[in-house]
Amino acid sequence: MKHTDDGTLYTLAAAKDRSAFETLYDRYEKLIFSFAYRLTRDREIAEEVVQDVFVKLWNGTTTYQEDKGSFSSWLLTVTRNKAIDEIRRLKRHDHEPMIEKDSLIEQPGSVENTVEWGEQRDAIRSAVMELKQDQQEIIELFYFKGLSQQKIADHCELPLGTVKGRIRLALKHLKGFITQEGGYSNE
């Protein structure tokens, strides 16, 4: 089971094979938790996100289709969706986050060596470093902060109509650099 591919494990898990589900969980727990934390900056909410994502996967509330891309991309999308919903909910009840404090590139938080996506991260990080500062910022605001188009326009002092083009350009540049950096693409 440990070496079974994600798609097969998912199919088994969707049919309530607990062992397959558990293998998937073990495989992705750290990535999903870390990503949820990266988005929410809150360990408790990140835990809630992980729980929501996997419970919904198990009970079939969210379903993955193999023809729509890799399982990992799907799982990460579901995670991001839940996380930005949580960020938005908290913002409504609490306060605006301090956007200025975060940057697209983080300093490593731990000295642990047992990385699972370390190489991939390094490649993407190098690619990000090649982007201009304002491009890094717009990706952070759009993808990691999940801000609305209007808020991004306000924050970057851009006309609303140009936001989409800017984001697309930044992402395209990034993708280009990533491909150059060593051909890491997802799956």
Partner: protein, 251 residues
């Protein structure tokens, strides 16, 4: 390009209302340009999650998730449903992948979190294996659960009792909060009651802030328990309660 095309980013970032979101999804079916752009956006962002720095996962997260799963209505199928019809069981249309405005925090999530924290304790209390061991955790089964009601004099006290089967051992787990302060020689005693016959099922003294929990193996006890109660006693595991009842509920 029409007005809807302007909503692509906000749809991707889930900042549309549910109504707007549905309208945009309808638009997506009719606008090849928007659906191509959305697909491109998904493709262009698929590497970004891997920028994430690794952080340590809380050691009890897995137990929480699996306890929450055991609370879902589908979990009972686990034992009865064979795994050889996977194709039929494979769902056809995605729901959650389409961004839809969330509907507020669901109560079951909170309940699941509560159950999860309890089951984690139960797990830790009933096995020597580390939490990463797959088999031990998978075998946790919730058999019964009771919310105990405070009795007069302990109005703010709350407690949950859960009967959990872990492999072949059954344990009763009780987790209480806001308990009245005890005198020096007193303790809280848990009882399982069949009709009018109580049997002791673990005792504990709460923390300073009135919280306490205890797990008790039920393998030595036999009965069709209908009630779980907590009393204040001066000695643990008396044959029958002498002190006053603080909390009680049917299981």
């Amino acid at each position: 390009m029409n007005e809807q095309c302007m909503h692509l980013l906000d749809y991707f970032n889930r900042s549309l209302t549910e109504e707007e979101s549905l309208a945009f999804e309808k638009h997506l079916e009719e606008c090849p340009s928007c659906s191509a752009e959305l697909e491109e956006l998904n493709l262009l962002t698929e590497d970004l999650p891997y920028l994430t720095e690794e952080i340590d996962v809380p050691s009890n997260l897995k137990a929480k998730v699996f306890a929450a799963i055991d609370e879902t209505p589908y979990s009972s199928e686990n034992e009865t449903k064979p795994n050889n019809h996977t194709i039929e069981a494979f769902p056809v249309r995605p729901k959650e992948t389409k961004p839809v405005k969330r509907r507020g925090v669901a109560v079951p999530v909170l309940a699941a979190a509560l159950v999860a924290s309890l089951a984690t304790n139960a797990y830790l209390a009933t096995t020597d294996e580390p939490p990463s061991t797959e088999v031990a955790e998978s075998n946790l089964q919730l058999i019964g659960k009771a919310l105990l009601d405070p009795q007069p004099g302990a109005d703010n006290a709350t407690a949950v009792a859960m009967m959990i089967k872990d492999n072949n051992e059954t344990v009763l787990l009780v987790d209480a909060s806001n308990l009245p302060k005890l005198k020096d020689n007193e303790l809280y005693q848990v009882w399982v009651i069949e009709q009018d016959t109580p049997q002791p099922a673990g005792s504990f003294t709460p923390s300073e802030d009135g919280n306490g929990s205890v797990t008790h193996s039920m393998d030595q006890l036999e009965g069709k328990w209908d009630t779980v109660a907590i009393t204040i006693e001066t000695e643990p595991n008396l044959p029958s309660p002498k002190g006053s009842i603080v909390l009680a509920g049917s299981i």
